[in-house]
Symmetry: C2
Subunit: 315 residues, 2 copies
């Protein structure tokens, strides 16, 4: 089945969002390269506005709404990076934002969403409650629901990250991106297919939430059931828009343990002096675990975000 | 008294070291600017090689040695960032390095020095023992002693940081740098006097180690006695080379408490996603404590380093 995206869609998405986002830097570390015996390029979306790549998709999706819908606002349910990103993107574009959060969401995330001026409603932390609270609010406001990842405009927004990257680093052999719901890896794979078809695209997934690996391997969406991992950004399941892109354009999904994730995270913190969240560290964990496969190659790692509660660190 | 430095000395130092160091980025944070009601520019020496600005001075001092002396190597005593920096600078330039460290030096720092291939000798943690161990080693090897800060070539090396900065940000109203032994602030003040004389230069010092403030205020070197602060890079006293530069070119020294330092450090970690050490956070602590004075102005903060033991954080 042909995917419903064209090269020009990515270029148009980038033109749309670039004023509202940072062109994030690509960092390298001589010491980590030595350890990995490879050339690694860290695409630092942890330094992105609101601390993760999610602002790309949020901004693109808002800008694709008709003027009238924009005025009525956007609504979503998220306890993670998409909540903050949508709140900030909406504020930047003068659009009202309504965010449904589970009542046990970390205070630090609630504070960030509030600081960006979004309205919040709390609900029980079940999928049913999140959806019904969101739908009720949608009825009251006429706001448009934006799914955190299973939305073509969100996916195209996320594709702008790798689009930038190919402009920053030439001749990449591989790109590795974390996979949760699949928005980032889908966007990454799309951009690679259009702008650097020789580059192989891989996903990194924690062992305690390996639903994407199952879905990829068995060919149908396998829902994430009671996921247990320190990589709190990767708990979600693939969606009907992200799954086909991954199935078609991603070469393989690598699994890493929480111990490997924490070790990689600590290495980046101490050697590169940047704060990355556990979800992002899955990519370096893949490299360190599969040294043979990546040896002497040029590999980009998408550092998806840096939103960590520094009062509750795993080391 | 005229200071023994010329504009051309700074330019020559930069030409000498630039191949061996990173041109570190200048970062900004919309959110912290909002909080401070000012325009702040963070000069990120935490992203420098070996994790601090010290490699600039170490590299310049080694390169100023005659060929024959270089072969015999360099020796110093340091438990901090200079030990790592000298070890790496020496390795880069194929020069032997001998580092005297106190026997209670943090393992993480010992490991870093070892990783850069320097030889280490341990001694009791007293000034006398450090100096005598160093002198004995110097006799055995013929190596040249490089003082961590009280050395004109080290000071000129550190001046290259602000030299870069003035090229990166125009029309700065102020620069704030931490002060410990005074190498960084001296170099900063020199570069400002030559390349941006309108820019006012301030130092930031922790309350528990406020010897530089005393020296500055009373006009003679006041030794640091039993300093107690979380800013472990700022425990040392001013020296005979750094003091006159500070006395003549620094506008004022601001004092901040450890609580203010930790709060500023946490703010940078969580909002900018970069790891800075407590010593570096003194600069932002000054801004947040003296909002009136810096309001609406363009101020650069020298983020001196990012060497923190992530297993032992103050939050």
């Amino acid at each position: 089945m042909a995917l419903p995206y064209k090269k020009s869609d990515v270029i148009a998405a980038y033109a749309r969002v670039k004023k509202s986002i940072h062109k994030t830097p690509v960092m390298t570390s001589a010491l980590i390269n030595e350890m990995a015996e490879a050339q690694l390029y860290f695409k630092c979306e942890n330094l992105q506005k609101a601390g993760s790549f999610k602002i790309r998709g949020a901004t693109n999706a808002i800008l694709q709404l008709p003027e009238l819908d924009r005025k009525k606002g956007v609504v979503t349910h998220s306890s993670g990076n998409f909540a903050q990103a949508l709140a900030l993107a909406a504020r930047n574009l003068f659009v009202p934002a309504y965010i449904v959060m589970p009542e046990n969401a970390p205070q630090v995330k609630v504070d960030a969403v509030k600081a960006y001026g979004a309205e919040i409603r709390f609900c029980e932390n079940t999928q049913e409650q999140r959806v019904s609270t969101m739908e009720q609010w949608q009825k009251e406001t006429g706001a448009t629901f934006l799914h955190p990842y299973d939305n073509t405009d969100v996916i195209l927004g996320q594709s702008t990250c790798a689009y930038e990257l190919f402009d920053q680093v030439a001749d990449l052999d591989n790109i590795i991106s974390p996979v949760g719901g699949g928005g980032l890896i889908s966007g990454t794979a799309l951009s690679a297919s259009f702008f650097s078809p020789e580059t192989k695209v891989y996903a990194a997934e924690p062992k305690g939430a390996d639903d994407a690996w199952h879905s990829f391997t068995y060919g149908e969406i396998y829902p994430s059931k009671n996921p247990q991992t320190i990589a709190d950004g990767l708990l979600t399941s693939l969606g009907e828009y992200t799954f086909p892109v991954i199935r078609q354009l991603v070469r393989d999904i690598f699994i890493v343990t929480d111990e490997e994730i924490v070790e990689a995270m600590k290495l980046v913190w101490t050697r590169m002096k940047i704060i990355i969240e556990p979800s992002s560290a899955t990519t370096l964990a893949v490299i360190l675990k599969n040294k043979e496969q990546f040896r002497s190659q040029k590999t980009a790692l998408i550092i998806s975000g840096g939103n960590v509660d520094v009062n509750r660190l795993p080391f």
